[in-house]
């Protein structure tokens, strides 16, 4: 009896191992829930086109799902992996569009060589998204001063009065807010060297 049980157990173990490896499912829905928003943002801002952005997001997940056997969690997060796939797709889409518009513009053939050096539109977008994340991580006071003074361009005196501090306090707060913003960015892996 024990022998048969052992064999049954072994069979179960082998079956479950096969599920874990070759049949291992990439958690498609979970990954979509966690990253689709960000990936769409990256694609939309890089390409400025909602339809193209949707295509990029869809293709990113489909590719990730198909090649999930190659994904190694020890080498990086799912997010890093998805972003790498999306960036390639965005660059391809941007190039394809450049080719189409040049062809439509009827430019001479020798000028087509320029297409090869179409810059990666995702670089600046990613920096911007990183900055948004960094701003979110600032303290309430620091976040607010940068938002009001820089982004909304409001006068120091007006903002100082609204917050209830002196204009000079608000000015020095701007300085400390920028200092901590730099620190947060560095913690996120950003560097202004090179």
């Amino acid at each position: 009896m024990t022998g048969a049980n052992t064999i049954r157990r072994l069979g179960r173990r082998l079956r479950s191992r096969r599920r874990d490896t070759s049949e291992g499912e990439f958690p498609l829905r979970a990954a979509y829930a966690d990253h689709a928003g960000e990936l769409f943002q990256l694609a939309f801002r890089s390409l400025g086109d909602q339809g193209l952005a949707e295509e990029v997001v869809q293709e990113t997940f489909v590719r990730a799902w198909r090649s999930s056997a190659r994904f190694d969690e020890r080498r990086g997060s799912v997010r890093t992996w998805l972003f790498a796939i999306a960036r390639n797709l965005i660059v391809d889409a941007a190039r394809a569009r450049a080719v189409r518009s040049r062809a439509a513009g009827g430019e001479r053939e020798e000028e087509w060589g320029v297409i090869g050096v179409t810059e990666d539109p995702t670089e600046k977008v990613l920096l911007g998204m990183q900055m948004e994340e960094a701003l979110k991580r600032l303290s309430e006071d620091h976040h607010r001063v940068i938002l009001e003074i820089y982004y909304r361009g409001r006068p120091y005196a007006e903002v100082a009065e609204e917050i209830g501090v002196s204009p000079s306090t608000l000015r020095s707060r701007t300085y400390y807010a920028l200092k901590s913003l730099r620190l947060v960015l560095e913690e996120m892996g950003w560097s202004d060297e090179s």
């Binding site: 979509y32 900055m131 948004e132 920028l178 913003l181």
Partner: protein
């Protein structure tokens, strides 16, 4: 005194890099910066951060930015599944085609290289026994293989409990044993034996008792490779 002066200027640096100092304060600060390497370094550190500020979007703008449409998730899942299915049927079709190709190539090798007059590999070739004891009945066949010759043997009426040896006799007369079996009186011995002799090198199939008496002998048809 100097450090204290720096502290006062430091607090202006934030407004300065954002371009939000009054004209006179800005001039005064720039004069200090031109003389103070530490404040100059500070300005450049802050500038590399403020240069990135325009790349970010303020919450108001973010709210207006479109997001992925609600039905995109279902589309993604459906597309992923249908593509995997297509891939699988593709690979199934490829596997089937590969297997079929192997069968065809294998058959061509087996039958295509067969020389005339030679027994086909894997084909049963019935053999007749020329020497038989009256009380013994036997039926046999040999099968030519690339690795040697297989002997299929059915015997009835042999001495119960006696050990018999089946051999294939080579052209030079040397017997190559293919195996042994024990005789059973009232039942048929049905056995399958293998010998390391190629069919074209085999002359006979011989069944001997333990005493060395030939119980059965079947001379095989000669298959010379040239024939």
């Amino acid at each position: 005194m100097r450090a204290e002066g720096c502290n006062r200027y430091r607090e202006l640096l934030g407004a300065y890099v954002l371009g939000r100092l009054e004209e006179d304060e800005r001039r005064e600060l720039e004069r200090h910066i031109s003389e103070c390497p530490r404040c100059r370094a500070e300005v450049s550190e802050l500038r590399s951060v403020t240069e990135l500020l325009p790349l970010a979007r303020v919450p108001e703008a973010l709210d207006e930015e479109p997001g992925p449409p609600p039905d995109l998730e279902e589309q993604v899942v459906a597309e992923a599944e249908s593509r995997r299915w297509r891939e699988r049927s593709w690979s199934r079709a490829l596997t089937a085609a590969a297997v079929l190709l192997l069968v065809v190539v294998g058959a061509l090798i087996v039958f295509g290289t067969r020389e005339p007059g030679q027994p086909g590999l894997g084909e049963e070739e019935p053999v007749a026994f020329s020497v038989t004891r009256e009380d013994v009945s036997a039926d046999a066949a040999v099968v030519a293989h690339t690795w040697g010759t297989e002997v299929l043997l059915e015997v009835e009426g042999l001495e119960a409990g006696e050990v018999y040896t089946v051999s294939i006799e080579r052209m030079d007369g040397a017997p190559v044993p293919t195996g042994t079996f024990i005789g059973v009186r009232d039942a048929t011995v049905d056995c399958q034996l293998n010998g390391a002799v190629l069919r074209q090198d085999a002359r006979a199939v011989v069944v001997m008792s333990a005493d060395g008496d030939v119980v059965l002998r079947s001379d095989l048809e000669q298959h010379s490779p040239e024939a």
